[in-house]
């Protein structure tokens, strides 16, 4: 696989950003888009546009087929048993909100426990917090170890007879730790507890197999996967989608509507109320094709080597402190520099065209635990190279110079 060629597929790298070549190290936030995805949106709107699932005219039928084709591609990509187990949402955030709301409504009552972890993104905490407010449930936190990981043992320790659902990230967007989801799910199921996985950071970078992971729910963010914004995916085992109440009500999700009552539509329509992000869904099929053409295994290998290189470079830079040292690191490297606030780092790096993220990355619980208000984060995608980390490093040295020069 020639990475230079892959970079050429992304139009954003052809242009200068404030007179610099773009060094994009913010893919954990959102990835760049290959031309095929952008073109697909344009083509759909200019040549093929119609709403899906409603009308019988030619364009409507064609659009509906395209829309459903993406569902099948996603099903295959994550090895779900059936295409009905794939629900489109507006993002991973909505996917998690859907589960929290529908599962909470039916199965949670006062005193019940939801087990999450200190690594969770706010979107896998706040929706459960709503249930804490409305239903009086409790939220328990599995705690990180010194490497910034969540171990199977820690999860086992925090499970009680009151635990009704476990919701964990697959790959931390701050420490880069990869959680032992398969083992956690096996243990949880032996106690009859379902598992939701926030797969935002794993889905773009590693092979996913729902049969092997065994989890009940899996949330994916398409804009982090070389896909359009405004789109996410909820994978849920069919039995859950059948059992849970719908999330939002409206057109498209109904069976029969009478003054006296309503029945709901078949799966997955029951969970897709209203006009969906049609163009995005259709274009996302190109993102999956793009990944499949390179091969997710090739992507994994390339990124593994790259992140190891990045880690090495930053470790050699004294005054850079890495956050977390997981045994197996995903595509993110968070760090701090003594005496320089992450926001100042990000502003100075930006001047060289190096785009990173600074802040708490929607993980305030974790930053509190680490006694930090913020950190800097470099994260990679398929288009990054070792050169990007060298540039990151020299910009970091520039930061140090500015701040030491009195």
């Amino acid at each position: 696989m020639n990475i230079q060629n892959i970079k050429k597929e992304f139009p954003i790298f052809k242009n200068k950003v404030q007179n610099n070549d773009l060094v994009y190290l913010d893919s954990a936030n959102s990835s760049q888009k290959p031309l095929v995805v952008v073109d697909r949106i344009y083509d759909f709107y200019t040549k093929e546009f119609s709403n899906v699932g409603r009308s019988v005219h030619y364009l409507a039928v064609a659009a509906t087929n395209l829309y459903e084709n993406t569902r099948i591609s996603v099903q295959k990509y994550i090895n779900a048993k059936e295409k009905e187990e794939i629900v489109f949402t507006k993002g991973a955030t909505e996917a998690i909100n859907l589960v929290a709301s529908s599962f909470g409504q039916k199965y949670l009552k006062e005193g019940d426990e939801v087990l999450i972890s200190e690594l969770e993104h706010h979107s896998n905490y706040v929706p459960w917090h709503y249930l804490r407010k409305s239903k009086g449930i409790k939220i328990e936190f599995a705690e990180i170890n010194k490497n910034g990981e969540i171990s199977l043992e820690e999860v086992e320790k925090k499970i009680t007879s009151k635990t009704k659902i476990i919701a964990l990230t697959h790959l931390s967007n701050v420490t880069g730790a990869i959680l032992p989801i398969k083992q956690i799910t096996e243990f949880a199921h032996s106690k009859g507890i379902p598992v939701l996985v926030d797969g935002c950071q794993s889905a773009p970078h590693m092979k996913l197999d729902m049969q092997e992971l065994g989890c009940d729910f899996y949330a994916i963010s398409c804009h982090k996967m070389y896909g359009p914004t405004g789109l996410g995916i909820l994978y849920a085992k069919k039995k859950w989608l059948e059992e849970l109440p719908p999330y939002q009500g409206g057109g498209g999700m109904i069976g029969e509507v009478k003054k006296s009552g309503i029945t709901y539509g078949d799966l997955p329509n029951k969970y897709e109320a209203g006009t969906m992000a049609t163009a995005q869904v259709i274009a996302f099929n190109e993102s999956i094709k793009f990944i499949n053409e390179i091969g997710i295994k090739n992507i994994e290998n390339h990124e593994e080597e790259l992140i190891r290189y990045g880690e090495e470079v930053l470790r050699k830079n004294n005054s850079v402190k890495l956050i977390g040292s997981p045994k197996k690191r995903g595509a993110v490297l968070s760090f701090t520099i003594d005496g320089i606030h992450p926001h100042d780092i990000a502003t100075i790096l930006d001047e060289d065209g190096v785009a990173i993220r600074a802040g708490h990355h929607c993980c305030q619980i974790l930053h509190d635990k680490l006694d930090l208000t913020a950190s800097a984060r470099a994260s990679i995608g398929v288009y990054n190279t070792k050169d990007d980390f060298d540039k990151l490093n020299s910009s970091i040295n520039k930061c140090k110079k500015i701040f030491n020069s009195k």
Binding site: H341, H343, T347, T373, A374
Partner: protein, 155 residues
């Protein structure tokens, strides 16, 4: 854009060694500010005497060089001023940092204004304006005795 303009020596100095970074004893007004986007926090303490003059002002908090320097310079400049004057300085500063490129108040001396103008570089960095204004909004809130925590996102 120009990094040198943003990170002037005065800013770096005040950022590294913030003045008045402590808690005023017997303060009679205070307020907290928070920037939810980056997690920066500030707590401003004021002691006004019976003539409504700022006898002491201090702050506690954590943040980037811009926000620490801004709070540090602010506390230096408003000490000894009357409440009415403080409000005028705050408004003048906020206008300067957002749209105008100058300070119009007749309260501060020229050298004080020059010091404050060092913060004007943030204008070229729209995402960083909030860092510079957080402590100023928090000071206003303290003076007005408003109980609400200043949230720089509402800027």
């Amino acid at each position: 854009m120009n990094l040198k303009e943003l990170y002037q020596e005065i800013i770096l100095d005040h950022g590294k060694n913030p003045r008045n970074l402590r808690k005023t004893e017997n303060f009679n007004k205070d307020a907290k500010g928070h920037n939810p986007l980056c997690g920066d926090k500030v707590h401003v303490y004021l002691k006004l005497n019976e003539n409504k003059k700022v006898e002491d002002i201090s702050f506690e908090g954590q943040g980037c060089a811009i926000s620490m320097a801004s709070a540090s310079i602010m506390t230096d400049l408003v000490r000894g001023k009357e409440e009415k004057e403080v409000k005028e300085i705050v408004n003048d500063f906020l206008e300067m940092i957002k749209e105008k490129n100058q300070l119009n108040n007749k309260i501060l001396h020229e050298d004080e204004k020059t010091k404050l103008m060092c913060l004007s570089g943030v204008k070229n960095y729209p995402m960083r304006v909030k860092c510079a204004t957080l402590s100023w909004h928090t000071l206003t809130s303290a003076i007005n005795n408003s109980q609400e925590e200043i949230n720089s996102e509402t800027d």
